[in-house]
Subunit: 341 residues, 6 copies
């Protein structure tokens, strides 16, 4: 595990006397201990401790780090069919997920407080019998701040995860700047990004499960489009990070994969508002990838292109974000309580 | 700094027994302390105190007095190109701007209340990473009333300032009459002026950065066209009022300018509804230019020409003003808050 | 009668090799032969011939040159009262007006053709028993092109002239550029000017009866606002240019005026799009005031401020011009004829 | 002040058992207390009280009763000229006018309620700096119902009053029948009358400032043409009802008038739908002129001639009334408010 | 039979040197020779000759002079019933009517030419089996110019006369001015009058059968409203001018009337544009009533009130006149012919 | 000038038997003949002919190819200042622009028809005195289809180009698929892209002036986000492609540049919906860059991510596009014409 040194910032002549703050940020590239949530929490704490020892003020974990990303599984589903085995798989996956709030959330909050780090953590959230792919936010004083639920799962994810609504797209104002997150291919949704830009996101976290090269183009583009830092955290996983066959099968591979096979190559990266890659991408193994974010670069970037300011045309193009909760069932007595508060 | 005495009003036979009120108004002709907003606020207070000591009830400051008018700068921009130095310049300029509302606005409001003066103040407003050239209004009880954002910046201003929408073209009804403002070349936009006339503006403030002689024709015309008093406040600046080279460069000048060179000659002026110049224009240095405005002259002027009354032809010519806010992104929860408030 | 030489154009470095055309224009400052329309037509021809001999391609006459501007008359009207003498005055004034089209219009067209001059002529138009203060346009081939009827008479004019509608606000595309006219205080109507700007007026004619100094501010402002040349033609009249008392009385003057008294001082002027006065103003007597208009200056002026282009905010401010004729009575058979033609 | 007894109604054989209601109506013939609006309101109340004591259910005041009809004034205006004194006159006249709504309107409404009388009141309405000659309607429960603004002022009135649009030509349905008003020479406009007939006017009020004998022909004709009662109220004024010279001058009179000179002779009158004069005309002095209006006569008159019914030829002759407001400037937010309210 | 001398024109100071023409006009007050059209034509010629001998240039006959006004007849019609006698009456009345064109029209044209008089003649026009109450126009050169068909008969007239359409409301431009006609109560139709005003009528002929006093108010009003001369011609008839009973019965009179009883009292009159009665009304017997019309008075009257010019509000109130012929049956071949011409 | 061979398409197993069409597309990387529009048109034709000779069916030219991209110029503008030389520069630049429609558009349409190529051409459009950076579309039958006006110019471009409205964001349905264009940094506006995706764009043209490496990330991202082909065309220019100093100055460069200096390095590129670069980027010189676009790849890409279909969340995020024209002035007669046409 190696610290990737922060790449040189191109425009060095801006000097060090700037009044804008600098934030040391780390993206975690590591794998879940699959089907073992307590062990995963332990691992999270170790990684957090290490990052903190390097001075990290902000640490971003990958998508589904707690609960796991069940790569390669089909959950026994084909069109018009499903298997008992797949159902059992889901039962186990459901068990590994966490309630929010709940004891695991308390544990995570305590960690953030202990290491005095702002933490952005990918989790599988359990809400009754539906799971959500969520990101939780904790501040450095050990407080759970809130969550973002992925609003649109990709492909087969749609059979294991529900769809978030517009009420959990938070951007938190922190002493380090405004922080929010979008998960994996959500990042390809222009209107969702626009909602986050409108909330003023400055440190844009992109926990993901996509390690393809083309992902780098997207996160680079987002940094430029949004005039923000983009922190993309992905797991680095080998076959052996999942239970061995036949307990866990990578569908569609003739023979089972070699335990050392890389099934998710990482590619975690940090990009500046000018589109410069300032740390990563790393495709070599688990790693903590860190960089110092000079927040003053944001103003410089927005000088050229402020997507929700001088470079918008609101009289032509305007986005409406319905950010209230949508529930299939509402009890009027609850509504009343809400109204009164 | 000298008080320019009010010139004689032409039609003296109207007498002093009139029931229409008289308002002592002062336009401030002074320069920003560039890149030093706290010092500029200090200077504003000194000027305000002095004007109040002469009995001023209404004080109008120039365009961009707080935040500064970055005269002579190119922000490193040519067509298709920009420099790092220009971006850094913007970062510093962005830092000198103020949030509205915000602590500097509170300070300004307190000043107006302390000296019991209605104050019209040109500022550079910071809204996230986009700046606006705005005018703020404060009443003599120390309340911030609202703002006007310049709706159309001129030439190179378009790369440093955003464009206001139709929701901030206020005219305030005050005990001294109806007061509004348009900034610099906005005053050349006939439809914008018409919107202000329709709101009943009686004391039309024209903070500006234009010291050319032809500006006098425009403000005289506006007084006659609108049947209102026009108060035009411009900065008087020498080269030395800006940081010395190479920190701040007046582009396009072979050698840098002499520190004593006048880079903005002022020309602040007060004009009556009949088109008579009743104070100024002053091109000599920093000054407080004052006049007593006899509001009864408005009815006399409108008797001849009431641009939105008897001299309009609404069945032929009608202007629509879209005065709602335009936003690139609207969150429904905010909209609700607005509707309820 | 003297030719006022064209003043130097400020920005001489633009050179003479420009591809934009130059137009020699003359504004006529002369008085009507009052109550004698045939003699006035004779005088018009003499003035036109003289202007043509100096090379004028465009000649603009004052407001009401044909028909006369009945300065100083009250037409016997006070509030709630009118005199027989005033009615008789109107009958004579009505007789001096001309039908459009009609024999006098034919005569004027012939003149324009004979001297190969584009002519803009202020007339009193008779339509049944209502008079209109109109401007007629004639091209250099001797064709009557159309007319503008003043849409809003000023003060007492409202008892002798009707109100034009939105159907006669023409701007004519000519080899010399786009030519239109607004009359006297109409020029103070921002929405009317905006309509003309939208039609692309480049040579803006402002026949007037206003010789006050403040008029100069307005025409200068219009040149700058519209980015166009402004040609303001006013009559120069002495008391003796009107019939002697008691046939014609200057009301409100204790004793009748001395025959040599100047009752309208002229002030005819030509202004460039940058606001530079390029000929006149002349307050000395009857005169032909001429200048060479470099149409290339328009693009330069619009680069800074294009009131209907880049410096408009149509999504906020939009003007509707109802430019169809309004008639108290419409006969369907006429409508049909019009549609067919 | 004397009550003119109701003249005998011609067709007495119609009997008293008719089911159609009878309305006791009074037209007020009295003068404004010039330049003294509070005193005029006092006088209005005294007249109203007296009318009510005679059983009046409907009371019609003359044109411009509140605010005054500035008879004999020229406001210093001749063609092409105006004086400072005239402007000052306008300023005073403007001060005597009332805002609608406003405190004076509240006062008038309260009067109507106190005396339980439907009141039709001529006022000078102030809308910013333009005045309108308006008629206000109040019901007997003390409610202000609405107004009619004169759409076309006569002669010199055009320099002191603006032009109403098509949105204020109301006819109110009341327990006493349908009531509307047209002011002075508006009554000579056939298309305006036709608009009122089409709205079903039954009690047609004609506040006026015309005391010539020919006026009687017009109001008689209107009663017959419209099949309605016509109530014409005019002021009776002597020279002394206006301020003495030189404060107020009757222009065009060699020497100033004798204080006792009658400057407006009244001629207030009430006419039935058959063209019968049923009260007045009175040319002797201030008076209350009353009659009992038998509304059953309307059906009798319309049997012969129903101008908007059986005696119209709509397939040949059709009138379009554009009765929406026309404004030089419309703010979209207002439009919304209007739509919502 | 006596010439009623022209009443003094009020405003004599206008003098005789005016350039506007004067027209000697005569209205004929005489009765039809009932049921005897040839005799009526003879009588018409005698009256015309007499008028011409007094210098008349224009002669106006009453409504239905040729063909007769069947006063007092019910044509046997009650609601739901008609009698054979009544049908026979109609057959005789139908026989007395004339075709237009036709031999009687030729005769009338010849008369006008012979006496060099412009003649306006009331006739009963036969078009197949429907009759129209029409007015025919003949110039002084003996040409039939055209006709006006009454567009709306009154009361029982509706069972004997058809309804004219919008194609016969002519106003003829003549050397004596613009001449048109409306018949009897048509004159009470404001939209019809407005159509005639719009056509520029200057000499407004009002042949009538109404001799009530209230008629004078209407024609006076029309003169003032239209700014035109009104020439109202009515028959003067005694009972003996109709066939004796039982051939012709005046229904609803207990005993038949005395032969000398006046059944139509005349009241023919000429009124100037100022509303001054300049000849008549005559209620004494058959008469030629003449006056000299000073057409210059029209401009004076329109100065005050031009119903289709400066005193119209076309943007609010606009009348559409459908002036094409309406036919129950149209043969396409005819339409084609019309289109080709 | 060299043909860059189409790179291998990655997923070759899709085979050639697909029913989806293949389109041969060429992006042109070449420079304007600056200030010489006729010569530029000649050059465009030569390039088009060459592309056609290689079988190109669709040819995309760079931003501002006709009219030129005035790289390096400051147009003499600094904050608060402008020079005569800069104004003269604008006049020349204005002269090089083209009217749309107009003769140059006709010429371009003819070219497209002659070579049977669908052409997408970047032009500087002249609309009166305001310029727009536009893209014109021509089909292979020689028809001009329409235009896109850049809605938001970048940085200094804002002083030379106006802002397009929402009415010109076309996507044309063609036999080759749906084609649209966004210009340069507009491509960084997520809401604009979303509007184009919603119109179904399949071949997304991105004429640009940006040759930085980060541009490649944006166009790659767009291809993936939109599931479309992206064709980015940029000019390749050396200093010598602009007039030599002092006629044309690259501001901010100490000494003038070497004539051979590359001032715009190109980087034109073609990218497939999967984010694969299939031709280019070329940074070496002028070139025609071609590829065969297999439109079947679009469905494959959208299977994963359909930004306006299955991967949208319209109940949360919805964009409103105001695509009507906005004009500062609207003439109602034009509106009518538009409605009729």
């Amino acid at each position: 595990m190696a610290l990737v040194p922060t790449s040189d910032v191109a425009e060095v002549e801006m000097g060090s006397d700037s009044s804008a703050p600098t934030v040391r940020a780390t993206v975690v590239q590591a794998s879940t201990v699959f089907y073992d949530t307590p062990a995963t929490l332990e691992k999270a704490e170790r990684l957090l401790a290490e990052a903190a020892s390097y001075g990290a003020q902000l640490v971003v974990f990958p998508e589904a780090f707690i609960g796991g990303y069940p790569r390669g599984s089909s959950f026994g589903v084909t069109i018009g069919n499903r298997t008992s085995k797949g159902k059992e798989e889901f039962r186990k996956y459901h068990s590994s997920a966490i309630d929010v709030p709940g004891p695991e959330v308390d544990r995570l909050a305590a960690m953030a407080g202990k290491y005095k780090v702002f933490m952005v953590m990918g989790v599988i959230e359990r809400d009754g019998y539906t799971l959500y792919c969520s990101v939780l936010f904790f501040d450095s004083q050990g407080r759970y701040l809130g969550k973002h639920r992925k609003i649109m799962p990709t492909a087969l994810e749609r059979i294991i995860w529900g769809f978030g609504d517009g009420s959990t797209i938070p951007v938190f104002e922190t002493p380090m700047g405004k922080i929010g997150a979008a998960i994996c291919w959500e990042n390809k949704m222009p209107l969702l990004r626009m909602a986050m830009y409108a909330k003023g996101v400055e440190i844009y976290c992109a926990p993901t499960a996509d390690s393809r090269e083309v992902w780098q183009a997207s996160v680079t583009h987002i940094a430029v489009e949004g005039g923000c830092f983009v922190l993309s955290a992905n797991q680095f996983c080998r076959r052996k990070d999942y239970p061995p066959p036949p307990d866990y099968v990578f569908c569609g591979t003739e023979d089972d994969l070699n335990p050392e096979s890389v099934v998710c190559a990482g590619g975690s990266v940090i990009i500046s508002p000018s589109g410069a890659v300032i740390a990563g991408p790393n495709y070599d193994g688990e790693a903590l990838i860190s960089a110092d974010l000079d927040l003053g670069e944001i103003a410089q970037a927005k000088f050229d292109f402020d997507v929700i300011g001088h470079y918008s045309r609101p009289e032509i193009l305007s986005l409406t974000v319905r950010d209230y909760p949508t529930n299939p069932v509402t009890f009027t007595s609850e509504a009343e309580r809400t109204e009164r508060s």
